[in-house]
Symmetry: none
Subunit: 138 residues, 4 copies
């Protein structure tokens, strides 16, 4: 096993919170903690590899004051307007929005759209639920 | 906002897999992807603390022809009407419904309501996304 | 002009509220007030006669404890599941629900579905907004 | 609940038109149709009184490519985030959006917010449905 090294740039406040979290969790250092998060993400990915028609919900939390963010999210969504059934938008407070998009399409299309939305810079938290059209489940 | 920087040491194979994952997900760079994983871990932490307000989305798929099921789900939801901000209902076909409820409250309240809904006999698939009010995340 | 006469059966509480309303409005008697409501309904109908693809929103308020009501509404909606894009459900209190359905189809189909939903016995208040796909408007 | 009964005298031609209308709308009988008109009149009345809480739905259609429009609408909505329960957003096509906001508050507050949203430059069509919390209706 050969070891690589790379650098992360990060907002100081976020890093402070993360440091407190990993101290609570008892990690020896940041590398160890980040590696665990990476492994988790890879495992999750494996579970999402099947294809076929599916339905998913994408939950996003973001600050609508973040420059250009709403526009980017709306643009992504309209580019997939045939797949997005609709979006429920909740104004959590004067800054924070929660959106849940209901998306229907091939598993890979749903995943791709979710990745685009969740990965948009400025989104604070995002999560895809892959569910089902219900047709194959009793 | 001031930016910090730190280094991660990591096995090369794991890093290779992670790079493929974030390329698929469309992240611009590793920092962006790692920051998202950190935020996710912080959100999860919020949910383990009993104080403070959380927000969740509960996705349910069910056949509305299942005897008494819609009534039971509506009844559960109205019993918590102060916590449920609203529910998006999509008629997937002549039988199957998808519902996403946006719920706000203490972690235990949201989790309990999600468990009740998902555990209702006849629900084909259900999933709670534990997300955040956004107040504690940069 | 020849005059007809017919009888209305009505809950006493509702009639009491209506009597106070028409007294406030200065109507001479109930017949006069009801005739005005009928004329209004006919005028509204005239405005809704055009056809072509359209989008509408149907707002409904009802008590979900009313026997069989939720089931009937869900059934009506699923019978038109291709036209109903989705439904937003808000739990107003432990009894009352507000639903807004977004419906797309020919004007006559949208109108028919709205009529069915609004006319379902037990719905307290319902209203159709005929809007537009936006395609023919600048 | 006890039922009252009263008679309506009416011009035959008007009654004939009304009968055709309620047949089209699928009402079981005239009483049912007249009761709905009465409830509608009572809801309208609620909106003219300054005390008490009302609920409205605001339907908007707009092109999200119109410069700054989404931002302005989001900003208006967040300024009233306590009144807006949630917003359902449907991507009609690559350009056009339909939004329905569910708003709760005093009649004047709901009306003011609706006017602001509908009056925002670039909104193609907008309509407020003044409905009810359901508390005062049988």
């Amino acid at each position: 096993m050969s070891t690589a090294r790379f650098g992360i740039s990060i907002d100081e406040i976020l890093l402070g919170k993360f440091d407190r979290l990993i101290e609570e969790k008892g990690y020896a250092n940041r590398s160890e903690a980040v590696r665990d998060l990476m492994r988790d993400a890879l495992v999750e990915r494996e579970w999402l590899q099947e294809d076929g028609e599916t339905v998913g919900t994408v939950t996003l939390v973001y600050d609508h004051h973040t420059r250009d963010l709403s526009d980017k999210l709306t643009e992504h969504q309209h580019n997939h307007h045939q797949a997005i059934i609709s979006v429920l938008h909740v104004h959590l407070d004067a800054h924070n929005c929660l959106e849940v998009a209901v998306v229907r399409g091939s598993a890979s299309e749903v995943r791709k759209l979710a990745d685009e939305l969740i990965g948009t810079k400025g989104v604070k938290h995002g999560k895809l639920v892959m569910t089902t059209t219900g047709l194959n489940l009793v």
